[in-house]
Structure formats: structure tokens, C-alpha cells
């Protein structure tokens, strides 16, 4: 039926990969290139009482040292609330405060050592369940709790009538599940090389997963029109969502503008692991009602997302999580109440399975719990509650192509599980 589609064509750049000729951002070298290093906050939260970079600027081999005062517009990210360089109050350990560009790494680090900075360490809040409480240390001036649609503490889904659904149930099953902080851990750490081309255009070699997205975001930071800012990239040593957030492009670009020279800013593995965005922690509480016949009659989910110090992609994760948290099951009576709270940690980024796989862990483990409560098998509960073509999912989305049942049938066969005839006869078609 198809000619090209469906063929096992080897990757376009595969020969480059196996010969080592593929050029990644971290391989880009320019003549006269400077190296950037940054001064990062050593505390979870602190007030910068004073900062003096005058000695650092005089340090040998240094071309520029910048702080927030040198950033045309100090906010970036999808929800542009993240500071490029820290303002008076730092919000997480490792937050960038100042950056130096110098002839080499040693000179850049030597310069940073000469920055005179006075901190007042402030009480941070790390635990999201503490952060939501009244009187918790404030992560941001707007408060720790995110207000959805500008007013609501919770992001809601309501379908059917949950109370009625619980009444219909033979068993009520509750569970609480948590997921930790995870790092994307791409093999290539985040790296940028920025320079001004012959026309004066700022060119940034970037690991961004979305070159245009980063371009738009940083045009605002640099206050440059799009014809004066070019992003180069598209071949990166792994992203997994981590490169949807900007970690080095902004600072490398600012330093290239400040020095007129090519500037390379490559994070060490330690910086990547500790200070880049992460898959941030989640807490899920699920209460389900289920009938003896295995039909889930009602579900109430409470979600708390620990967003870290800035919004980055946390809000998007909460939205996506809420839409999918009830899982691949037809649940007629559903309530979801999601909250997002800020804490003094590195911010929540997107990570493969973004907002969804954490919820699906909770939901799928809870589903087995339900099966055990009723006394049916894990396979059975999934067949019984499966979506069919034309069903509406939990956000009212009509499902066009559905195959829970088919994947279950196949995976049962693959793993040598014999299914009862009635499940073999089922189909997602109604």
C-alpha cells in the first residue's frame, strides 16, 4: 500500500554517528572563542545583600562579567517568570547569579572567585506539602500556590457525579503515590556557542529542542528583532524534554553581545544534574469506587505537583497530567483536583512522558489494587473498563482510534497468558 512509509530505512545521519563525524553543539569551536563560567547560588534561598564585580572584571584574561543589571529583559521561559540571572532573592541552589567570559576556563573561574558577594541565607521550603501551608516560607512574592485561571487553587475536572458513583460501589479503595526528582541525563550536557556574525546578527548554536521557540523566547531577553537573532542546532546528544528549557543559550548570547567575541558555555555533568530543569516530584491521592463486576463507578484524584522555584514547564505538566490522570479507563464519575506549589528547588521541566507517566504510574498501580479488592485479574479489570471507539474520555474528547483491548489481547498472547473467550472476542469497535 505504501512505498516509503513502513520501510526500515536507516537513520539519515547514521554514518556520521558511527564515524564520529556528526557535529554536536559541544563540538563547535570558533577562532578566538571565549569560555563562560557562572557563579551559582550556594544556598537554597538567600538575599544578595551586595555584589561587586569590579575586581572580577579586572581579572586577567577576562572580557566580561555580567549580572542581572546587564540583562536587557531578565525574564525568560515558556511562562516567562524565570530570571536569567538572579535578582535580590535567590530561589534555588545553583541559580545563576553572575557570568564571566574569559580566554579560558581557568581565567573565567579565577574571575568569578574575585566577585565580592554578601549573602543572607534565608529559610527555604523544600517539602511541597509544607510549602502549601499558610505561613510557609515564601518562594516567590506572588505566593507559593499557583492560582489556576488566575483565581483557583485547584485545576479541576468534573464528570458525572462522584458522590453518586461512590454510593454505587461495592468497594472503596484509596491510595497515595509519590514520584521523585529525576534528571533527563542526556549524554551531551547542555552547551551553547554564541557569536556575532559579519552582519552583526547574534548567532547561537543551541541544544534547544525547539529552535524557533528558543529564538522567540530569547529575542525578548536580548530585546532583538528576529532578523538579528539566529539559532543553529537541530542535532543534539539527547534531549528527553530537558532541552525544552533554556540553560545556557541566554547567558552565552548575553556574553557574546557584551564582548563581541564567540562565547562557549558548556555545563559540566554536575551542573546538568544539579541545576538544570528536572522531572519534579508529584504526589497523587486516588480514591476509587468499584463494583463487584469490576466496573469503576467513581474516581477522585488529588494531585500536588512540586514545581520548584520557577514555573518553567511545570504548569504545562499539571495541565497534561490532569487530562490523563484517570487513565485509559472509561470512568463516568470523575473528579480531579490538581494543585501546583513552588518550592526552593531547581524548576520543573518537561521530561519524556511529560506529566503523564508519573500519573500513569499512580493510576496503573491503583488499578491493580482495585482488581485485588474485587478479586479479578489485572487483565480483567483493564478489559472491563476499557475505552471503545466513540467513547468520550475524561475531558470530553471523542476517541477516534482506540486499542486498549487489542493491545491487551496481543500482549497477553506474547507473554503466554491464556485469556477467557469473552475477552478474546472483545473489540474496541462498539
Amino acid at each position: 500500500m505504501f512505498n516509503s512509509v513502513g520501510k526500515r530505512v536507516p537513520r539519515y545521519d547514521g554514518i556520521g554517528h558511527v564515524t564520529g563525524r556528526t557535529q554536536y553543539v559541544s563540538d563547535v569551536r570558533m577562532p578566538d572563542m571565549l569560555t563562560c563560567k557562572t557563579l551559582r547560588c550556594p544556598y537554597h534561598k538567600a538575599r544578595i545583600k551586595s555584589i561587586d564585580v569590579s575586581e572580577a572584571k579586572k581579572s586577567q584574561g577576562v572580557y566580561a562579567v555580567i549580572t542581572k543589571d546587564n540583562v536587557p529583559h531578565n525574564l525568560f521561559a515558556m511562562v516567562p517568570d524565570h530570571h536569567v540571572l538572579a535578582e535580590e532573592i535567590t530561589r534555588y541552589k545553583g541559580q545563576n547569579i553572575a557570568a564571566a567570559a574569559a580566554v579560558n576556563k581557568d581565567a573565567a573561574l579565577d574571575a568569578l572567585a574575585k566577585i565580592k558577594i554578601e549573602y543572607e541565607e534565608l529559610e527555604p521550603v523544600i517539602d511541597p506539602e509544607e510549602a502549601v501551608k499558610d505561613g510557609a516560607p515564601q518562594v516567590r512574592p506572588e505566593g507559593n500556590n499557583h492560582l489556576f485561571d488566575g483565581k483557583s487553587l485547584t485545576r479541576k475536572i468534573r464528570r458525572g457525579n462522584v458522590e453518586e458513583g461512590f454510593k454505587e460501589a461495592d468497594f472503596i479503595v484509596e491510595g497515595r503515590y509519590t514520584t521523585p526528582s529525576q534528571e533527563h541525563a542526556p549524554m551531551e550536557t547542555c552547551c551553547s556557542v554564541a557569536y556575532l556574525d559579519a552582519s552583526g546578527k547574534l548567532v547561537i548554536h543551541s541544544k534547544a529542542q525547539g529552535l524557533y521557540f528558543a529564538q522567540g523566547d530569547l529575542a525578548n531577553v536580548f530585546q532583538l528583532p528576529l532578523n538579528k537573532l539566529k539559532f543553529v542546532g537541530g542535532t543534539i546528544g539527547g534531549g528527553f524534554g530537558g532541552m525544552n528549557s533554556i540553560h545556557t543559550d541566554h547567558i552565552a548570547g548575553l556574553l557574546a553581545l557584551a564582548t563581541g567575541k564567540p562565547v562557549r558555555f558548556a555545563m559540566t555533568r554536575e551542573e546538568e544534574t544539579l541545576f538544570s530543569t528536572i522531572r519534579s516530584p508529584w504526589i497523587f491521592k486516588i480514591k476509587d469506587g468499584i463494583r463487584k463486576d469490576g466496573v469503576i463507578t467513581a474516581r477522585h484524584v488529588e494531585v500536588l505537583h512540586d514545581c520548584g522555584a520557577y514555573t518553567e514547564l511545570g504548569l504545562y505538566a499539571v495541565e497534561k497530567n490532569a487530562n490523563l490522570i484517570a487513565g485509559a479507563n472509561l470512568i463516568k464519575n470523575l473528579a480531579v483536583d490538581s494543585r501546583m506549589v513552588y518550592t526552593n528547588k531547581m524548576p520543573s521541566g518537561s521530561m519524556r512522558g511529560f506529566g503523564v507517566n508519573v500519573g500513569q504510574y499512580a493510576e496503573q498501580v491503583q488499578l491493580d489494587r482495585l482488581a485485588r479488592a474485587v478479586g479479578i485479574s489485572p487483565m480483567e479489570i483493564r478489559f472491563i473498563n476499557a475505552f471503545h471507539v466513540g467513547d468520550k474520555n475524561h475531558t470530553g474528547n471523542e476517541l477516534a482510534s482506540v486499542s486498549t483491548i487489542e493491545t491487551l489481547q496481543k500482549v497477553a498472547a506474547m507473554s503466554g497468558q491464556k485469556l477467557p473467550e469473552k475477552y478474546l472476542a472483545m473489540s474496541s469497535a462498539k
Partner: protein, 339 residues
Amino acid sequence: MIKKGRGMATVYYPTGFNGGGDPDLVSLRIKTDGTIDMTNASCEMGQGFKVVAIQMAAEALGVPETLFTIDNSNTDTAAFSMDTAGSRSTYIVGLAAISAAEDLTKKIKVFASASLGVDVSELKYEAGKVFKASDPNSAMTLAQIGAASTYGGTFIIGVGGFLPPPGPPRDPETGATIPSRSMAWGSTVIDVEVDDETGVVEVVNLYDCYDIGTVINPLMAEGQVDGGDVQGIGMGLFENLSPYFPKNIDIYASNYTDYIIPTFMDIPKHSEIEFIQSHDPYGPFGAKGCGEMVTNTQAPAIVNAIYDAVGVLVESLPATPENVLRLIDEKNRAETKAG
């Protein structure tokens, strides 16, 4: 003692940005020898974007994929892409490529019409050739068109785009909206062995069955699934930046010595992948997104398998030996107490 257990998980996953509204553009330009330059600024990060994009454009034009080059390298020359995220690239770039191919064939016909002196309505395009339906010998190949148009001062470039229809604004009370029209589906069965004296869990067998619609390139899709399995195992068993959170985050992993991701030795002894035959009504050639869903089933399937093996429920990821052993101890204490 080693205890065996089996667990499973079933998931579904939207293709594209939450709520749609995330466009991509594609351009297709014929060169003087009939080869084709495709551009779109999606990111090649190992998923196989480039080859998959080319295969879809090749399919749409009915020509071999060897004719193509692809430029995704910068914001000056590559057509707009919203982002490479949300399991969207195959789907949205594919639909944009189909649209660009349609535009290209339309423009080729117009050009050939003048060159051949045949009315556009009498021309057909098939497999890299424009010809008169009633007289196939009256024809031009892509190479002829590329050369004649370029040297004749006509720029033939097919452009197209696709915008996943933006969903209605989310209702703040009910949450009703349309996150995506296309959903991918999947189920995984995992067999584990749990050492009940140390809490060490090993994934022994893994069976994945996914519906990602039409599989554009099985080699790349299998790679995504294999990689998803390994990341899922990492999430299920190992990965935690600060294991003492929320008590504190001052003991943390800062490198690959401490932040443990799976190695060659940690992959299942046996694993199988199947894609079921399926066709998405909206996706390019029936395809849906694949990249993210494939790392969603492993953690819950592992946790369910651990329960099957030793009767303890890991409610906080990851299922490290320590977490599993604590739960086993608690269970044993509770059972002793219950007598």
C-alpha cells in the same frame, strides 16, 4: 530467596501539544537534477526525525527517499517548527509534508503545463513525473522540471503547514477541552525477580504492544520503544536525584556515579515489541505519536510485578532495593503481629 512476579500496565497518550494549536511548516524545493531539499526545524535528537520526515515526504510525492536532503539546522533557512516535544513531530511534520507535497505537485503541473503546452487539467502527477493523461509520452521528470524551472527563472518550492486544530478553551469547572484528536495506546507485561533478602529487583522479561497508528519506520520506532523501556526501568528501579527528599535534598546525586541509569546489564534478558495494525483517521498515512508513551508503562508494570512476587506495594518510586526491603520487613512484622 528469589521470588518471581508478573505485572502489567496499560496507557494511552495524546499526540501533539496539549490542546493543539501547535503548527509546523515544511518546504520542498526541487533542485536542477531533480533531487529535493526538504526543510523543517524540528530537532534530531535520536528519535529518527530526519529519516521519518523524508519517508513521509517521499511517500507523498511517490519518489524514493534517496532523492532527499533535509535541513533542520537553523532558524534562517529551515521552515518553522513549534517544538520537538509532545510526541508531535512525526504527526505534525508529516501532515505539513503532505500539504507541501500537494503544493509542489500543483506548482509542477502549472510549470509543466506551460512547458509542454498542455492544459493543467489534462496533466497528472505520479511518482516524480508529470504527464498528459491521454498521452504519457508528453511528460516531464522532476530533473527536467528542476533544471527548466531554475534556469528559466521560475522558483518552484512547495510549501505547506499543519495546525492541529486548537481545542476549545478549557472549562474551568469541568475541565472539558480537546487535548488531542489522536491518541496512541499501549500495554506492557513485565516479569521480575525479587531477592527478598536484599530487595534487589531484576526485570527479566518485557513484552510491549503499542498502537502508534501506521509505523512510518519500524527501525526507528523499535529504537524509541527499546529506549523507552530502558528509561522506564530506570524510573521504576533507580532514578532519584535526592533520595532523602522531602526530609532534605542535601544528599544528592551530581554525576553518573551517583545518578544511576540502567546499563547494558540492567536490560531485560528477554524483550519483545509488537505494533498492532492500526490507522489513525487524522494522522499522516495513519500515524500517531510514539516518543513519550513508550516510557510510561514500565514503572507501574514493575511495581505491580513486585507486588505479585512478594506482596508489597511500592507507593513511592523508585523501587530501590532499600524501599522494597523496608516494605517486605513491614509486611513480615505485620504478619507476625497478626500471628
